[in-house]
Amino acid sequence: MARRRATVVGAGHTRFGVLPDGPRALMRQAVDAAFRSVDRGVDRSRVEEAFLGTLGFSGWQLGNASAALAEEARIGHAPVTRVENACASAGFALRSGVRAIESGARDVVLVVGLEKMTDSPSAHRRYWLGVSGDTEWERLAGLTFAGVYALMASAHMAAHGTPPEALAAVAVKNHANGTKNPNAQFQKVITREQVLAAPRVADPLGLLDCCPVSDGAVALILAGDDMARTLTDTPVAVVGAGAGADALALQERDSLTQLAATRVAAAEAFRHAPFDRTGVQFLEVHDCFTIAELLALEDLGFADPGGAAAMTLEGATALGGRLPVNPDGGLKAKGHPIGASGASQAYEAFVQLRGAAGARQVVGAERALTHNVGGSGASATVTLFERM
């Protein structure tokens, strides 16, 4: 008998950006939208369990945020577990929901990713932007994430001759995609020259190499594949759910130019999948900084080490290219509400594979990969989706 699979039958996404709404309102909007999106409807009483991915940025309800989701989702007394793996919180929350369904323990599960970041004063934000990095060595050396990714970029440039233009090309492409996504924080095309001339944040990364600080929430409704068609005609199956971990600090890792957590997660995701890398039609990768998208292409196995720069510069990753990457604008242009990003990637897979992505539709897409990274690579998930 075939292994039971989880499917996505509904998904809701707030706008990402600087929003007036608080965290409770954001969760409520995303969950309501997710329930509305289920074609034949599903009663909230059928949700048996929920998983909430959030960092708890700025300290709002740092403990027990799950209870706030239980209230706002109006799912009665169904258990809710908060999952915290930094920027990969929702990727891991999704994986927990998928496993609950695959195991047969649950039939309907709600997964929510949330972060409210822009309501804190800037100094308070800077406290929080580094809390998921290594505290005792990297933070005490004066690093936040921009600095840590900049260190990796410098090593990648030294090892492979990666040109600054390749980093800039990632930002240019993702901003172009963002203009086609009504939920994206940035709706503005930028040029390579603007990226290269932007003020430096942590060399070699400039302001336009970095994702913004964002608010937003995303909700996904999962159901077993044996019952999915009673809820919708076009469920999207999760056919691979891999994850990996690594040391917290760069200094402890085998390589400064590869994320072992991503490589391990990809290997696990593909192990039992019905297709290999050649079957993947687009990627949603964790581009918190432009260098991260190049690392992702190489670690996921879609480019050789050092090969992602050329692939990007020749346009292969653009919408309409050989392998579109981040058609929704990515974290870079869509925004990066930390705990919501992994769920947002799954949302994009859901709407793309149902052919509902509008102006950014990847033509004929039936199979997708999403990739969510926690911290500077301390954790990662890789999830494979296929239209049923």
């Binding site: 990095g133 004066g142 936040t144 600095g147 942590a202």
Partner: protein
């Protein structure tokens, strides 16, 4: 055998204000004293006693033992001043033949009326023990005047037979005064460069002056070591050797040009607290063997070095590990960035406010493990592949005290 000064060293701060070497924002008397002690040549005998001469911070007793890795030694304090330094050097407690004693003296820059700098900062380290070295049997101290107390050499009637170099360190005015005094005793003034060529800007006025005695006769080599501290804000001290002392200097190659006199801490400065990424004091203290002394676990089973030290091997899990410090020289930069204002964690707002952007590196030790270091001094001065040296500096204040750690400066073999 009489206890003698076996080795001596001086550490100058990396900040420059006009002609004076002054402490950079991340330096103080503690970091300078550690730098002076680390500049001493290797010594296999254990340290049994440490004397601190000067205004050391409150926690310095245990901190200095932690930094030096000499937990068994006793620590004694003396007030600042050359007279106290001489007194401390001359008082020979019973040092076991198997051990040595360290005398560390230091001072930060003195600010006079109107925040005007009167002299720069300095630290010296003396290693005392059995063996051939500098004996203090002929030292005398003498106050030149009640208003300007100082220590001064009184030459014996038949004082040696070789050229006798003296080194005066201290404020320009006081060194000039000392030179006049010594000139009356037959010494001729000369000039010692402020820093070795190529390691920093040449000051327009020397802050150190060497005096050399006219050779009065023949005999074995006799060196003279003389240290003048700005310790009681404007004094010097010197002494006469009956042997040879190895003298070394610890010089920072990351020179910081300061626009204003060194900042003095206020209680409010030390009250800064980080909200996120909090490091409670016990966690800070727990990591000091690795953070300060670069202690790694060397595995007896597989040879792997685990850094920071964890008490067992990260590669094979064996508990048969020997704690061994990694080298303090020859770290190679494998990744580098410059963190620009606005991208720093809030704990480093003060660093950015005083110095602007700073660089951070991941560097690999000669033994293999990597570490992450902020670069001390100006940003953008350390390149990929460069050799760096981890030196002890202030990081930031937390829980009312300065937290210290290693930062990187350009190493001796670095092209940058």
């Amino acid at each position: 055998m009489p206890v003698a000064v076996l080795h001596a060293s001086v550490a100058r701060p990396s900040g420059r204000l006009g002609p004076l070497a002054v402490e950079a924002p991340d330096e103080d008397v503690f970091t300078l004293a550690v730098a002076a002690a680390e500049a001493l040549p290797p010594e296999s005998r254990p340290v049994t006693r440490v004397d601190l001469v000067g205004e050391f911070p409150p926690e310095s007793e245990w901190e200095i033992l932690e930094a030096l890795g000499t937990p068994e030694a006793s620590v004694h304090r003396s007030p600042p001043g050359a007279a106290h330094l001489l007194e401390t050097l001359r008082s020979h407690p019973d040092t076991p033949a198997a051990g040595v004693r360290l005398v560390l003296a230091g001072d930060v820059s003195a600010l006079g009326p109107g925040n005007r700098l009167e002299h720069g900062a300095l630290a010296v380290a003396f290693r005392l023990g059995d063996g051939p070295g500098l004996s203090f049997s002929s030292i005398a101290s003498h106050a030149t005047s009640p208003a300007t107390p100082s220590a001064r050499l009184r030459l014996p009637a038949a004082h040696g037979a070789e050229p006798t170099p003296l080194l005066l360190l201290g404020s320009e005015a006081r060194v000039a005064s000392a030179a006049r005094d010594a000139g009356g005793l037959g010494y001729a003034p000369g000039i010692v460069p402020h820093a070795p060529p190529g390691t920093g800007p040449a000051p327009s006025t020397p802050t150190a002056v060497a005096l050399r005695a006219a050779p009065p006769g023949e005999g074995g080599p006799i060196e003279f070591v003389l240290a003048a501290l700005g310790a009681d804000r404007d004094v010097y001290a010197y002494g006469r050797s009956t042997g040879r002392v190895a003298w070394s200097e610890a010089l920072s190659s990351a020179t910081v040009a300061l626009a204003a006199p060194p900042v003095r801490d206020t209680p409010a400065d030390l009250d800064l607290r980080a909200e996120g990424a909090y490091v409670p004091r016990p966690r800070y203290v727990e990591n000091l063997p690795s953070r300060w002394r670069l202690l790694a676990d060397h595995c007896g089973a597989c040879g792997h070095r685990t850094f920071p030290s964890r008490g067992s091997c990260q590669a094979c899990g064996s508990a048969e590990v020997a704690p061994e410090p990694l080298s303090r020289v020859g770290w190679i930069v494998e990744a580098v960035t410059t963190v620009r204002p606005g991208a720093q964690p809030t704990e480093f707002d003060r660093t950015v406010g005083l110095a602007g952007a700073y660089s951070v590196v991941v560097a690999r030790s000669p033994e293999g493990p990597r570490a992450t270091f902020q670069v001390a001094g100006p940003s953008g001065t350390v390149a990929l592949g460069a050799s760096v040296v981890p030196v002890l500096r202030r990081l930031y204040p937390m829980e009312g005290e300065w937290r210290y750690g290693r930062k990187a400066i350009s190493g001796p073999n670095s092209s940058g």
